[in-house]
């Protein structure tokens, strides 16, 4: 009997479902992609149905379900926090309570009820690994390493906000933990809020804004000093204490005491969508520098505690590719691997892995050569007949290519002319990055492409950088990359010669995706054709979505997004759609998405 484990994350943000069979990832998807609600936290009914169907199993075949955290332990943290701060914030807690008594405490019952509809047995085993164990498992088990130091960092799970562990064979041992309310994830989110971005989704904007700050400027230096002396007490081992006098998240439904922050930094909290001043950029730079310092200290401590020469990372903060790159630059470990779905969606994967390896003691499947993520290509895929059927209601005009080489030659030429391409191929990616299956592609060497894509196409802030997809074997021609980076988990510095303004940030760095022929074969073919056409081995790869919209999932989502964003071309499988030939009444449609 194969071991079939369903992993689930839900009820906070970015719900997801993952299916493992005998320790192999068969399918994984986030609920937002199906419901079209960004970071949807609802119970992932659609994602569960998809992963079961993809594996050809039903609820009755499941060996176990693993939920990514322990609800009762989280409830304990909530109660003890109330006890420690009451009467302050008492009303906030009371307002949050109905949600707990309605669903968050009854997750086991909800899972049982929902899976019963899909044929599950009444006595189906339901496991609840701890939140940070789920992150640790998502970092270690699919990594290429058979032993490693494990560091997990996020906002908060049950109690833990940061953990250091050691993994070998099937086992993960947690060696050190930092507990709520002391959290660098929440510290970074507090700055995200103060800088006028949305908590839980705007953190990467702070990271993107930071290089515009001037590290040599007196203001930036004083901000760093204030953060380190007033807001947070950092110890040599990377542990830290937040000064809770400045933070409100432990007792109220807000992040910080705004007036105190305004007094501390001498600037007002930025209102969303207002002008970004140099002071905001300097403040973003300051918190990014502090985060880098803490993460390096944590990595050094992990190295000392475990003696391992390899590091794996997960938790929302591990999506900070600038901090990840600093760990590499410091040379603390010989190799570093980051779970590409490092946030809570990846918790579903980790929970399933923890159940398979720790509970069921499944045999290790590591090959040692590459990770087990399959290039994150774990979501729904649509063959030629399915694309044709789903596009039929639009009466869309398209050309079908029997020869994919001919298609790539044509599209490569269009990219070189400055045209913008919607690129929809194979299985949808799991996690926050589009890696060439649900992507928008464009020329990286055009001077105004960053602005065109940001402002006209994606309707988002003009400062935000784009990532390049580059042929893996040619990476050294453009960047000082010392290793493949197939999931955009690290930034690397450009070499002197290149002039690709759309993908090079103001500090000369780029969040590159190295494209491997065997992992992302269709994107690789297109890059090869582009190289033949232009002599360059890279172009822009950004996610196929508008601001606030989840990345497209189905051919219908892709076609609607193509029409609304007025992309020049849409390529779905072997079909090519020319925007100028589409029926007028197909768009642009009024699709409303809440800005992120």
């Amino acid at each position: 009997m194969p071991s079939i484990v369903l992993g689930i994350s839900a009820f906070y943000h970015d719900s997801a479902a993952v299916l493992l069979i005998d320790n192999e990832i068969i399918a994984a998807a986030q609920e937002e992609r199906f419901t079209r609600i960004k970071n949807d936290s609802a119970f992932p009914v659609n994602a569960i149905q998809f992963v079961l169907a993809e594996a050809g199993v039903d609820g009755n075949d499941l060996s176990a379900v693993a939920f990514y955290e322990k609800p009762l332990l989280k409830f304990e943290r909530l109660l003890e926090t109330i006890h420690s701060v009451v009467p302050q914030g008492a009303f906030s807690f009371i307002k949050a309570m109905p949600m707990w008594f309605k669903e968050k405490l009854f997750i086991k019952q909800i899972i049982r009820k929902e899976l019963k509809k899909l044929g599950a047995r009444k006595d189906l085993l339901i496991l609840f690994p701890e939140h940070h164990l789920s992150h640790a498992a998502s970092a270690y088990y699919p990594s290429p390493f058979s032993e490693a130091a494990v560091v997990t960092i996020d906002g908060v799970g049950e109690w833990t906000t940061t953990s250091i562990g050691y993994a070998k064979g099937n086992n993960i041992t947690i060696l050190k933990e930092q507990h709520f309310p002391h959290s660098i994830g929440l510290l970074y989110s507090a700055f995200t809020y103060f800088l006028g971005f949305k908590v839980n989704s705007g953190e990467y904007k702070v990271m993107g804004l930071a290089p515009y700050g001037d590290i040599l400027n007196e203001q930036t230096v004083s901000y760093i000093d204030k953060i380190k002396t007033v807001l947070i007490d950092i110890r040599n081992d990377g542990s830290y204490l937040l000064n809770m006098h400045y933070f409100a998240f432990a007792s109220e439904l807000k992040m910080i005491h705004v007036k105190k922050w305004e007094k501390l930094f001498g600037i007002e909290k930025r209102k969303p969508e207002t002008e970004l001043l140099q002071a905001h950029k300097n403040l973003a730079r300051a918190i990014q520098e502090v985060l880098n310092d803490i993460i390096i200290m944590l990595a050094q401590t992990a190295r000392q505690l475990t003696g391992s020469n390899q590091l794996v990372l997960a938790g929302g903060v591990a999506l900070n590719c600038v901090a990840n790159a600093r760990i590499i630059e410091e040379g603390i470990f010989s190799d570093v691997w980051v779970q590409p779905a490092a946030g809570d969606a990846g918790g579903a994967l980790g929970a399933a892995y923890a159940a398979a390896n720790i509970w069921f003691k499944q045999p290790d499947r590591k090959s040692g050569a590459c990770d087990a993520m399959k290039g994150c290509q774990l979501g729904p895929h649509y063959d030629t007949a399915a694309i044709k059927k789903l596009i039929a209601p639009f009466g869309a005009a398209y050309k079908y290519y029997n020869d994919f080489n001919e298609l790539t030659r044509f599209i490569a030429k269009e990219i070189s002319k400055g045209k913008i391409i919607g690129w929809f191929q194979g299985k949808m990616e799991f996690g926050p990055r589009a890696l060439g299956n649900r992507s928008i592609l464009a020329d990286a060497f055009s001077a105004d492409m960053q602005s065109i894509l940001n402002v006209r196409i994606k309707q988002r802030e003009s400062f935000r950088p784009f990532a390049p997809a580059v042929i893996e074997n040619d990476t050294h021609l453009y960047f000082n990359a010392t290793r493949p980076s197939r999931h955009m988990s690290f930034t690397f510095k450009q070499l002197d010669k290149i002039s690709a303004p759309a993908v090079i940030h103001v500090d000369g760095s780029a969040r590159i995706q190295t494209v491997n022929k065997n992992v992302h074969s269709r994107l690789f073919q297109l890059l090869e054709a582009y190289k033949q056409e232009t002599g360059h081995s890279l172009f822009i790869n950004t996610s196929f979505n508008q601001r606030g919209e989840p990345i497209v999932c189905t051919p219908k989502d892709a076609y609607l997004a193509f029409m609304q964003m007025k992309l020049d071309w849409l390529v779905m499988g072997d079909f090519v759609f020319d925007y100028t030939l589409q029926p007028e009444n197909n768009g642009p449609k009024e699709r409303k998405f809440e800005a992120d």
């Binding site: 906070y12 109330i82 949050a96 309570m97 992040m255």
Partner: protein, 49 residues
């Protein structure tokens, strides 16, 4: 019933039975919130709760 049993086992194992009165008070207060039809989660900013 299964939930109450699990909750009691959890509190006992964690030596946190002293939280029980707080749970009862919060349960009653949240029932009041629901009955008075006020919004369950007002200015929701971060899902720490």
């Amino acid at each position: 019933m299964e939930f109450i049993k699990e909750l009691l086992q959890f509190l006992k194992a964690r030596k946190k039975m002293w939280l029980m009165p707080l749970i009862v008070i919060l349960l009653l207060l949240s029932a009041l919130v629901v009955l008075s039809s006020s919004s369950a989660l007002g200015p929701f900013i971060y899902s720490l709760f």
